[in-house]
């Protein structure tokens, strides 16, 4: 076998995982960020701390607890089994849950900062122009938070692409099912297949650079247009 014949399945799997997780992160993260940006409830600090936990916890700790929760006897695993008849641990769905939790702060924090930066004024202006709360959110808050949204999407996506520890703990390493890019690279290195590890690593490096470059470029464009 050619030393550089590479199985690209982990790449597609990683992309699929990152896209799915980012979409779910946006759906969950945006309302959470909006609420955190505007509430003065005493629940704000605890929720902020919980959202930020993945930033400080070793991925293995998060992965360990997730493994317990997702196991067929764990709380999440049991519910999932009752609904779908399948198992969460060592499955793609399990990976999505893990990724969403692990990347949550990377989506919520930039969005929350962006929403906070808007302030009350534009929303009051919009209310005086006849816009109701939902209308204001979609036609004023989201467009004004565009830069935060771009940052949140990129960070959420890139962080999911690059995750390793959590995936290893809850996904195992099942080729074609839960073997993602970072784990595949680890395997190649373990097997001393440095050539293959190089190709995948360099690809990931280039990809990451490109993503960050595009984000910064977009943000600068938006800034130049006063957004």
């Amino acid at each position: 076998m050619n030393a550089l014949a590479i199985d690209f399945t982990p790449v597609w799997l990683t992309l699929r995982l990152a896209l799915t997780s980012t979409a779910i992160l946006l759906i969950i993260g945006t309302p959470v960020a909006w609420w955190l940006a505007r509430t003065s409830s005493f629940c704000k600090l605890p929720v902020e701390s919980i959202v930020a936990l993945p930033l400080v916890l070793p991925p293995t700790v998060l992965g360990f607890y997730l493994l317990i929760a997702l196991a067929p006897t764990g709380p999440l695993g049991r519910v999932w089994h009752a609904i779908s008849g399948g198992s969460l641990a060592f499955s793609f769905s399990g990976l999505v849950i893990g990724s969403v939790l692990y990347s949550l702060p990377f989506v919520v924090q930039p969005l929350q900062n962006a929403f906070e930066a808007i302030g009350e004024r534009p929303l009051k202006v919009a209310a005086m122009l006849g816009a109701g709360p939902v209308d204001r959110f979609f036609t004023v808050a989201l467009p004004l938070a565009r830069r935060g949204l771009v940052t949140a999407i990129t960070l959420g996506f890139a962080h999911t692409v690059g995750e390793f520890g959590v995936v290893l703990m809850i996904g195992g390493n099942i080729p074609g099912k839960t073997q993602v890019l970072s784990i595949s690279i680890y395997d190649h290195v373990e097997a001393l297949e440095y050539g293959r590890a190089h190709v995948l690593s360099a690809g990931l490096l280039a990809f990451s650079f490109l993503v960050l470059f595009v984000v910064h470029l977009t943000n600068r464009r938006l800034q130049a247009r006063g957004l």
């Binding site: 919009a126 209310a127 006849g130 467009p143 957004l227």
Partner: protein, 358 residues
Amino acid sequence: MSDIDAHLVLRRGEFVLDATFQTPARGITALFGPSGCGKSTLLHCIAGLEPAVRGTLRVNDELWQDSELHVFVPAHRRRVGYVFQDAGMLAHLSVRGNLEYGMRRARRARSGPAFAQTVEWAGIGPLLGRRVQGLSGGERSRVAMACALLTDPVMLLMDEPLAALDARSRAEMLPYLERLHSELSIPVLYVSHAIDEVARLADHLISLEPGRVVACGALREMLTRLDLPFARSDEAAAILDAVVTGYDEQFQLALLAFPGGRLAIPQRRLPAGTAVRVRILARDVSLSLAHHHDTSILNIFPARVLDITEDRPAQAVVRLDAAGAVFLARVTRRSVHSLGLKPDAEIYAQIKSVALLR
């Protein structure tokens, strides 16, 4: 019963705003008071932007708020046009985008001509494609005003629309505000801390002190009430409404008539029949018992003393009535005594100078 009837209470930390007032729902009502007395906050409460406010608010028989009945019409359903102090607009939209944002959400779909008319009125046609950040202070105010008008509001709230402008933009804006007054059928609540602005624009006046309403009523009456600070200040003045009756070609004087007599003032020619508003400062009015003809003063007419307050060690303010027109004279206490001035005394008022406000 087309009135604005408010009893609003707002507690915010140490500051308590407790405002009770009633004002006709027509013309311009000025909310006047020193900085920090709660004028802007009161305007926010009326607009529904202050969820913590308690009390009742009724506008044109419509109940907007009644805390006892748990009625609180949300801000976007009150249909008020609001011009914020900094002429706040939506930064992510162009000037046209801002104008259309409110227009699309108006009660009645506004027609194309309404848009064109308002744009023309505010003189903002050339600005439509611009981003709002690039506008000058005066342009910004005019766009904000047009935005507010295009929402087809039942009432217009303006929070010191001139405060953020330099003297030149301010002079540019005043005519727009005056036209607003003559062309608009909806009531305007206008926050200001500049009494000259109020004298020029307003019909009614709500006078605020920190946290509360001191008095409210018709502008002319409020400015001449001896129990309020306006009449006692150095700038104390009366506002009179007059009509242009002619023009003295030889001496270039505009001739005006008001209920109590005639006035001749140095002015450019104005069309006869024009309604004007003039201001007579209390310190420009002197009193005499006889009608002197050997004087340089042009404007002299008979008046009756209404009341007198000796508010300063050496000075007094006399409130006068000239056939229904009420005005003030700032004189010395000695003069009050030597002329024997007391309520109902008949005297002659000599007006040294008259300012045309509009």
